[in-house]
């Protein structure tokens, strides 16, 4: 029976009360550890299709008569369009339609960032559209851009009111400290660079718009488009079977989709609007730069007495302001915390969520600061973190639904114990060291989310839900969960996803939430189907339902009776069993979070500033692990992406004009296979006993969070140098080494 309940919903730290309908009865919890299918390594269901190039991504879609849109973008960070004449564009052979600021509000006459869309053309080929736009006549009035986030704060150019948080009395906390450490940390702007660029294909069939799009959120795209176009949501169909990476930047429809939809309407043809790689690096979002002015106070025994932080975030012209103060508020049991966050509005591209937004940046600052405290007090950094463990969540004064951070620290010990041996391997200019950092993040997911499970007379099952698999392997995890509940071998379960017209509402693939949101709905639907199979079997074989169960593709009875599932479902001929399931509420009054620790071993050439990361051990607590194979891939991928942020990636701007200098992948340096250290993954794998019928949390984001600080702290261990700015280029490394040398001489540091 459907039960209407009022519950709390948390999205990345913000709680709201909402009504939800819970359709299923609570399910019995599975025992911890590896089961028949769940908890076992399973290669991804769609691996062969993707590897063979048979998976159709949005980029691969070719519809008959499809046009291609190109976008004219502002070359200036801040300017006014004094005159715009698109007539020559419209007259170019192959061009079918043009759009400008008078036609659609995504175009602007007053661009506030380089890459802001001004006009667009749709033509038979992309080349025709792009070349036609060269004939646009634009007269610009170029204005001075505001680029410095600190200057923006001084001038009051902010996105919102400054966000302040106070707990206890920070000033009193510093007064009782034996040691106070202050430092300024900086993190750079980094670019998502999913290999499939942002794109969609829009097609109108009568009054229904079909949008094929590379997206992390089929249902969010559907409602945003319906709202903007003023049409009912069921007149928008959103399709995404395969997508080539998102990392947070593909949570919304994007300007390109509204451009494509308008062109499709005007021309009566399907229209592709795809960003080029250069556009991707100009105008598709980024992780904003931060400046963090931090202060920590501690007693001689390492107990933190106060933490204070001023965070300036270079949000850009618009977009998402990330939670940079989050780790300082949440990671440690410090009674006195004071933070203020400023979101600077400047003439750079809009920000977008990027894998653990804010926590990657904030953890770099906080966890480096903690090691500076540890160094001053001569306390073992791992021990310092143990002593400041938060037993309850102090932000909301709530218990954790589960927390195994101490267990993570225990498991980190053998890796941490390698540091004597690692340091001893220093040789010549190559100095070696070991560093660590802790991780905290959300990842509990939540309602609503729905799934159906269809079982045919052949005893095969299909999970149906309009979710998306953004490359994290969630398709496979859902198949495992359904197979486990149905007692079927994994090869008899498939998953149909990716189409809002062919399945129920499914959660966003962001915030490490797909498995914790969707998994319980899939299990509930499979349970509903399994119950029906058992009811039918009970009647067929004249047994009581309670003595029957499903195992290994069979219906088995307590007295050793055994029938193939298809013997039961086969009775149905063409009829089908359809199970329905929904995600229930999160535990009320509790904080659902993920935890972890990483230990990095590095080598620094103190003459050239070259840094090599040699080994990373990652220990994370994300509740029950559904697929250890896919999970280790998530951990490795997060660490490698994080190493790019730590060492090589940076969006560079011309300091005068604000032009983006790193639009191509030779200039914007992402890690290659040759840059990868040895990575050891350990997952604590203890189900969260308060969270859903699975006890599983999300893992997409946790692994990228602590790596930068772990590397920086390893550098301090190896060289005594305090690196405080990302990426840790050779220049920053040599600066930090020179500063450390000066400090050792007792002289003030040269700047």
């Amino acid at each position: 029976m459907a039960r209407l309940i009022r519950t709390e919903k948390e999205v990345e730290g913000n709680y709201t009360e909402q009504w939800i309908v819970v359709e299923e009865d609570p399910l019995e919890r599975w025992p911890a550890g590896a089961l028949e299918t769940v908890g076992k390594p399973v290669p991804r269901e769609d691996g062969a299709e993707r590897a063979r190039g048979q998976a159709t991504y949005t980029a691969d879609l070719q519809l008959p008569g499809m046009l291609h849109a190109a976008v004219l973008r502002s070359p200036h960070a801040r300017a006014r369009v004094k005159r715009l004449d698109l007539s020559k564009v419209a007259d170019t052979p192959g061009v079918r339609a043009v759009l400008g600021p008078d036609d659609l509000d995504v175009f602007t006459r007053e661009p506030g960032y380089p890459g802001a869309p001004v006009a667009a053309a749709a033509a038979d080929s992309y080349g025709q559209a792009a070349r036609a736009l060269d004939l646009a006549e634009v007269e610009w009035e170029v204005l001075d851009p505001l680029l410095d986030p600190d200057e923006a704060v001084r001038e009051g150019s902010l996105h919102d009111e400054p966000e302040r948080y106070e707990r206890g009395d920070a000033e009193a906390g510093f007064a009782e400290a034996d040691v106070v450490v202050e430092a300024e940390y900086r993190t750079q702007t980094v670019l998502h660079n999913s290999l499939e660029t942002h794109q969609s294909v829009c097609e109108w069939n009568g009054d229904t718009l079909t949008v094929y799009i590379s997206t992390q959120f089929i249902w969010g795209v559907r409602s945003e488009i319906a709202e903007k176009l003023g049409i009912p949501e069921d007149k928008v169909r959103v399709v995404c079977h395969y997508m080539g990476g998102g990392f947070g930047a593909k949570n919304h429809p994007g300007q390109y989709t509204f451009i494509g939809a308008e062109f499709a309407k005007r021309t009566g043809r399907p229209v592709r609007c795809a960003l080029t790689r250069r556009e991707e690096n100009l105008a598709s979002g980024n992780r904003h730069a931060t400046i963090q002015r931090l202060k920590a106070g501690a007693r001689a025994d390492g107990t933190l007495t106060a933490l204070q932080g001023e965070f300036v975030m270079a949000v850009g012209w618009e977009g998402f302001q990330s939670w940079t103060a989050g780790p300082m508020k949440m990671l440690y049991g410090c009674p006195n915390v004071s933070t203020v966050e400023y979101g600077a509005k400047i003439n750079t591209s809009p920000n977008a969520a990027f894998r653990a937004p804010g926590f990657v940046e904030g953890t770099f600052g906080l966890e480096c600061l903690l090691d500076e405290v540890a160094a001053k007090l001569e306390i073992d950094p791992l021990e310092l973190r143990r002593r400041n463990h938060a037993d309850v969540d102090l932000v909301d004064d709530r218990p954790f639904s589960s927390k195994n951070l101490i267990e993570c620290y225990e498991r980190a010990e053998p890796h941490w114990a390698r540091r004597q041996e690692v340091r001893a391997r220093s040789e010549g200019p190559w100095q070696r060291g070991v560093g660590m950092a802790s991780q905290i993040w959300f990842g509990g997911g939540g309602p609503p989310s729905y799934a159906w499970v269809r079982v045919g007379s052949d005893g095969r099952a299909t999970v149906i839900t309009a979710m998306q698999d953004i490359g994290t392997g969630t398709r496979t995890a859902m198949a495992q969960i359904a197979a486990q509940e149905l007692g079927l071998p994994i090869d008899r379960v498939q998953v149909a996803l990716g189409d809002s017209a062919r399945g129920p509402y499914a959660a966003i693939s962001a915030g490490s939430s797909t498995v914790p949101s969707m998994g319980p709905a899939v299990r509930a639907a499979a349970h509903d189907a399994a119950r029906q199979i058992i009811e039918i079997a009970a009647q067929r074989f004249h047994l009581e339902e309670r003595v029957l169960s499903l195992q290994d593709g069979k219906v088995v009875s307590a007295d050793d009776g055994s029938w193939e599932v298809e013997e039961v479902t086969g009775l149905l001929e063409d009829a089908q069993i359809l199970g329905k399931g929904a995600r229930g509420p999160n535990p009320t009054g509790m904080r659902v979070l993920t935890f972890g620790v990483q230990v990095a071993e590095i080598a620094v050439d103190v003459e050239t500033g070259e840094i090599r990361v040699e080994r990373v051990a990652a220990i994370h607590d994300v509740g029950r692990v559904i697929n250890p194979l896919g999970a280790s891939s998530q951990v490795e991928g997060g660490i490698i992406q994080g190493l790019g942020h730590t060492l090589s990636e940076e969006r560079l701007l011309d300091p005068e004009s604000g032009a983006v200098l790193t639009q191509t992948l030779d200039a914007y340096r992402m890690p290659t296979i040759a840059d990868v250290p040895e990575i050891v993954t350990e997952l604590v794998d203890i189900p969260d006993e308060h969270l859903t019928s699975l006890g599983a949390k999300g893992l997409g984001e946790p692994p990228i969070i602590p790596i930068a600080a772990a590397v920086a702290n390893a550098i301090r261990d190896a060289t005594g140098a305090d690196v405080r700015s990302l990426p840790i280029t050779r220049e920053e490394m040599l600066r930090a080494l020179a500063e450390a040398k000066e400090k050792a001489r007792g002289a003030p540091a040269a700047v």
Binding site: R44, Y57, G471, L665
Partner: protein, 145 residues
């Protein structure tokens, strides 16, 4: 009108002079297994073989291919590397994977037992933003099963 041999099959193609091999493969021949991720020869996603040599098809003009044999991922679908990549979970979003497999096929053709160092050298032109690298290395090390 010129001729192009792709995966052993001959095609007649009509293309403007500036057309890339990648565009011809994907748009004219419908061979969309070859992906284009940067379009400027920096990422390796569009890698195909020209007479067995890994080549970036996005910066190769189709009219310069001549009578060389083009091999795309569609011609390597039964290569044991495909199974190795799936078994080792050497892919996440999969957009770079066809290019990775094409590059790897040339490596194992030249040396069936490459060392880790050789793999890292030969594969460093194929960017994987998801970071499947450790498992790509594993897949190539164990490609023979």
């Amino acid at each position: 009108m010129s001729e192009l041999t792709v995966n052993g099959q001959r095609y007649e193609i009509e293309a403007p002079v500036e057309r890339s091999l990648a565009d011809t493969l994907r748009t004219d021949l419908g061979l969309t297994g070859t992906k284009v991720a940067c379009g400027e020869g920096h990422c390796g996603a569009c890698t195909i073989l020209l007479d067995g040599i890994p080549t970036l098809s996005c910066i190769t003009l189709v009219h310069l291919v001549g009578d060389r044999d083009v091999t795309t991922i569609e011609g390597l679908r039964d290569h044991p590397l495909v199974d190795a990549f799936v078994r080792c979970d050497a892919l996440q979003c999969g957009f770079c994977t066809p290019g990775q497999i094409v590059s790897a096929s040339a490596l194992v053709e030249a040396d069936p037992n490459p060392s880790r160092e050789e793999i890292r050298h030969a594969m460093s032109g194929n960017i994987c933003r998801c970071g499947a690298y450790p498992k790509i290395e594993e897949a190539i090390l164990t490609w023979q099963g």
